[in-house]
């Protein structure tokens, strides 16, 4: 097995070259998202990319195969590179289904692997894929189709940032009436502002390119946010984790499911039993007594006794409230209860 030195070239051109020499191996494309194209005697037999669900993900996410069936085929067939054939021989898939699924996966992954004009590319001679050869595709057809797909996307909405950024639906559509296809509905319902198009494709078991295509269509309709150019605002995306580190390690751990919406009122009711010594202590202190392990090390900050209803001193009250993670959930539950009461 020889490895060509990693060089920055056009992946499509290198594919044409190795295909012309009727080589066998894998073209590994670096960069983002990157991918790999498997070639057997000059013909493309498989392709994969992190942005495109593979055959296994497609079959399992759709429910066509049970995860266990797929795993069994992997266990049995990986070493001999006949996973695909096993699935057909064991009657889990028809030959037609397998071929169509593999063909779809090849063109899908090839789009992500081969569309960059230049990327770090390696060719590992002799490498084969564990799926085994199911279909043989002319590399020229793959290259041509990749180029066509790039053009198609730009016709819909010429902004490639939509393809990789986390998907966020607009809160208010810019039109009176919105018509969605079922694929678009699926994407919007599962877009939570954190998932990227690749995440959504994997989650839903949908082709990566088709996902990007629908997202571009929705961006053109103004239904999803087009990512801003400035990316340097990560604090908008991931909120709660960073603050947790600032909390005193000796603080009692309050699990979110235990944290009531109105901690002061509810916890105060439970104070007398476990904490006999300082009855009017703030409620969190009594929780440490329950947790036991850190009752020796944890000394509650000495506070002046307050009048009923008085606020905590600023340095105490200013800390992030321990109920933070659960807040949304609790708030939602309260809204739900209120709505039920209205029925």
């Amino acid at each position: 097995m020889t490895v060509t030195a990693s060089k920055t070239v056009s992946p499509g051109r290198l594919l044409t070259q190795v295909a012309g020499e009727r080589q066998t191996g894998v073209l590994v494309v670096g960069g983002h998202p990157g991918g790999a194209v498997y070639v057997l005697e000059g013909r493309v037999v498989y392709a994969e990319s992190p942005a495109a669900p593979g055959v296994g993900e497609l079959l399992v996410a759709s429910g066509r195969l049970a995860a266990r069936t797929w795993q069994n085929a992997l266990d049995l067939g990986t070493s001999t590179a006949r996973v695909g054939r096993l699935l057909v021989e064991q009657g889990h898939l028809t030959q037609g289904e397998l071929e169509l699924c593999v063909l779809g996966a090849i063109y899908d992954a090839a789009y992500f692997a081969l569309s960059p004009a230049a990327a770090p590319v390696d060719f590992l001679t002799g490498a084969t894929h564990w799926l085994g050869p199911v279909v043989h595709v002319d590399p020229a057809a793959v290259n041509r189709e990749v180029g066509r797909r790039v053009g198609l996307l730009d016709e819909i909405f010429p902004d490639a940032r939509v393809d990789t950024h986390a998907v966020a639906p607009v809160t208010r559509p810019p039109r009176e009436r919105v018509t969605l296809t079922s694929a678009q509905w699926e994407l919007l319902v599962n877009a939570d502002g954190q998932r990227t198009p690749a995440d959504l494709a994997l989650l839903l078991g949908r082709a990566g390119y088709a996902t990007v295509q629908e997202l571009r269509r929705m961006a053109a309709l103004g239904l999803i946010e087009v990512p801003e150019v400035r990316v340097e605002s990560p604090e908008f995306v991931r909120l709660p984790q960073a603050r947790g580190t600032a909390v005193d390690v000796r603080r009692p751990v309050v699990r979110p499911d235990e944290a009531p919406a109105t901690p002061v009122v509810e916890a105060r009711a439970s104070v007398p039993a476990p904490a006999p010594q300082p009855p009017p202590d703030p409620p969190r202190h009594s929780l440490t007594e329950d947790s036991g392990a850190n009752q020796v090390t944890y000394r509650p900050p000495r506070l002046a006794r307050r009048k009923p209803g008085a606020k905590l001193p600023k340095e105490m009250a200013g800390e992030p409230p321990p109920v933070h993670q659960g807040t949304d959930e609790v708030l939602l539950k309260r809204i739900r209860t209120a709505l039920r009461a209205l029925r």
């Binding site: 497609l58 996410a61 057909v88 030959q95 037609g96 289904e97 063909l103 066509r148």
Partner: protein, 126 residues
């Protein structure tokens, strides 16, 4: 075991069939082809096929409001031929259509439609 090539061979055995292909209608790409194509260009035919399917699938005029009342096939007739498009429904994610081009004189629309239905079912059903 019927694979894609076998399916297309069978499609060509339909009386009057001139050409057949399986087309990915999101991208307008012929996944597999056999026989002749209008203007002898399978890729252009596939792109046109994709446009037709997209139009029928996305315009509310043709989309049924009933649940599970999905598009089955599209039939376009010309003076010289029939163009039949049959949706291939796979359990996994794919957007494929079986396209058969028939000669008008030798082809029989009803026979061809039934044969294509059978082919599409055999290709993906176990």
């Amino acid at each position: 075991m019927p694979g894609v090539d076998h399916c297309l061979q069978e499609a060509m055995a339909i009386p009057g069939a001139v050409g057949a292909s399986i087309v990915d209608y999101t991208t307008g790409f012929p996944v597999a082809t056999t026989g002749a194509a209008p203007n002898s260009d399978h890729e252009a035919a596939a792109a046109g096929t994709a446009d037709v399917v997209q139009a029928a699938n996305s315009r509310s005029l043709y989309v049924s409001a009933l649940p599970h009342d999905l598009l089955e096939d599209l039939i376009i007739t010309t003076a010289g031929g029939y163009h039949l498009l049959r949706m291939l429904r796979t359990d996994f994610d794919s957007r494929l259509v079986l396209y058969v081009w028939l000669d008008r004189v030798q082809g029989n629309l009803a026979v061809a439609r039934r044969r294509m239905q059978k082919l599409a079912d055999e290709l993906v059903a176990s």
